[in-house]
Amino acid sequence: MQAIITLIKKEATIEWRNRSVLGSLLLYTVLTVFLIFFSFRNLDPLSWATLFWIVMIFSSVDAIAKSFMQESQERWFYYYTLFTPGQLILAKLAYNLVLMVLVSTFTLLLFSLFVGFPIHDIGFFALALLGGVVCLTVLFTFMSVIAAKAGKNTALVTILSLPIAIPLLAVIINFTKKTLVVQNAVIYSTDIVLLCSINLLMIIMGYILFQFTWKE
């Protein structure tokens, strides 16, 4: 546990010392949202839900892809002596999750500012947002490990994760569209169960398979 906290602190310190990376990411999000505002002006609620998640996907790829890309070979060797693979992947997941919650809040603020906020069931929307963010975080973090070992090609993260992200996004967007109007909470039950089980499965798979990426 202590090791995980240390790793998260290290990630945050690197992020803080290299603020321009986060800054460029946020600017990228601003530009995309402004582009949507510029080309749509009036966005109907269903397109709002879809576009919001598409912007989220591409901002999160950029945010997360760097998490393993920035690790040099020497630092991997240093990690071998200090941590177990489980500690490293959990720390990376936790840090990326915090980062993604920040990015998604920022994207949401931008969307409300430029193209409006058509959601009426705020509580369940927050749940959908959190579930979706966890989904994308786990998927992209895991693919970033593979892409980092394959030669630090950021485009590879996108290519590897998008085929899996398409069906995931179908679930998330479906959930988000239901929150456009206030409804009986019962209709969310399948979405919540589905998202939770997919997230759990992905975390378990990632945790197990990360042990195999560890050894050189």
């Binding site: 070992k149 394959a150 085929p163 899996i164 069906p167 679930v171 499965l201």
Partner: protein, 245 residues
């Protein structure tokens, strides 16, 4: 089953000759819209059976590879063979997927009026093909053979599990299909009252699946010989003898 044995290859050839002849000549139910295209059932559907079987073979070899790597001699010859087996299985699966898509598009063009509709099964197939195309991109971006084998295996296991879970779990991927036997559409079992079509369909499934395995064994052999030949050429003093292949 000994994959080198000849009896199952003969069996496969006989079945496919039977399927080709009986599939085109045997009586089929006369139905509106479908008409004679119903015979495509013997060629289109078995492609998907063959593809799922061969992708599962690939998954098994990837898991075996990872389990062995985790112990000791990571770059043993046995492990290189497992990687070749998994990679070749994906190649054959893609071949079958392409053939399945092509036969399906011809069929769809005659019955639905369009080669590609937004049918859930088509979407699932498209996602599956994209996953395995990404698998080839991933393989080609490694230069180190052992590393390539390991990460391809990891990606294969992750994606196979996610893909199978997602297509069976997501409601949007199941409902409203215009494929027969889905979303309230009657399946072929309801048309085929005298079960005459089953007499051709089941042999077709077995025959095409066996053919997939057969092509796979040949491709595996070819790639093994190529790999060990290259190792031999690059390092004449290498302990790897060609008769180990």
């Amino acid at each position: 089953m000994n994959l080198k044995a000849i009896w199952w290859k003969l069996f496969c050839v006989l079945l496919l000759i039977y399927v080709a002849i009986a599939g085109l000549l045997s009586p089929v139910p006369r139905l509106n819209i479908l008409n004679e295209t119903i015979r495509n059932l013997y060629f289109h559907v078995p492609m998907w059976f063959g593809q799922i079987i061969i992708f599962t073979v690939s998954l098994v070899y990837s898991i075996l590879y990872l389990l062995d790597t985790n112990q000791k001699n990571a770059s043993s010859i046995a492990n290189s063979k497992r990687d070749i087996a998994a990679h070749s299985a994906v190649t054959i699966g893609m071949l079958y997927g392409t053939l399945g898509l092509l036969t399906g598009m011809i069929w769809g063009n005659f019955t639905w009026g369009t080669p590609w509709s937004s049918d859930p099964k088509l979407n699932c197939t498209a996602i599956g093909m994209l996953i395995y195309l990404a698998y080839f991109v991933l393989r080609s971006s490694f230069t180190d053979i052992d590393k390539r084998a390991r990460f391809a295996a990891i990606y294969n296991v992750f994606c196979y599990v996610m893909f199978v879970v997602l297509i069976f779990v997501i409601p949007r991927m199941r409902e409203f299909s215009i494929h027969p036997g889905n979303g309230g559409n009657p399946g072929f079992a309801t048309y085929d009252l005298d079960s005459a079509m089953r007499l051709v369909f089941y042999p077709a499934v077995i025959g095409w699946s066996l053919l997939a395995v057969w092509i796979w064994t040949i491709l595996v052999k070819y790639r093994e010989i190529k790999l060990f030949w290259n190792m031999r050429m690059n390092n004449p003093l290498s302990a790897v003898a060609l008769d180990q292949v």
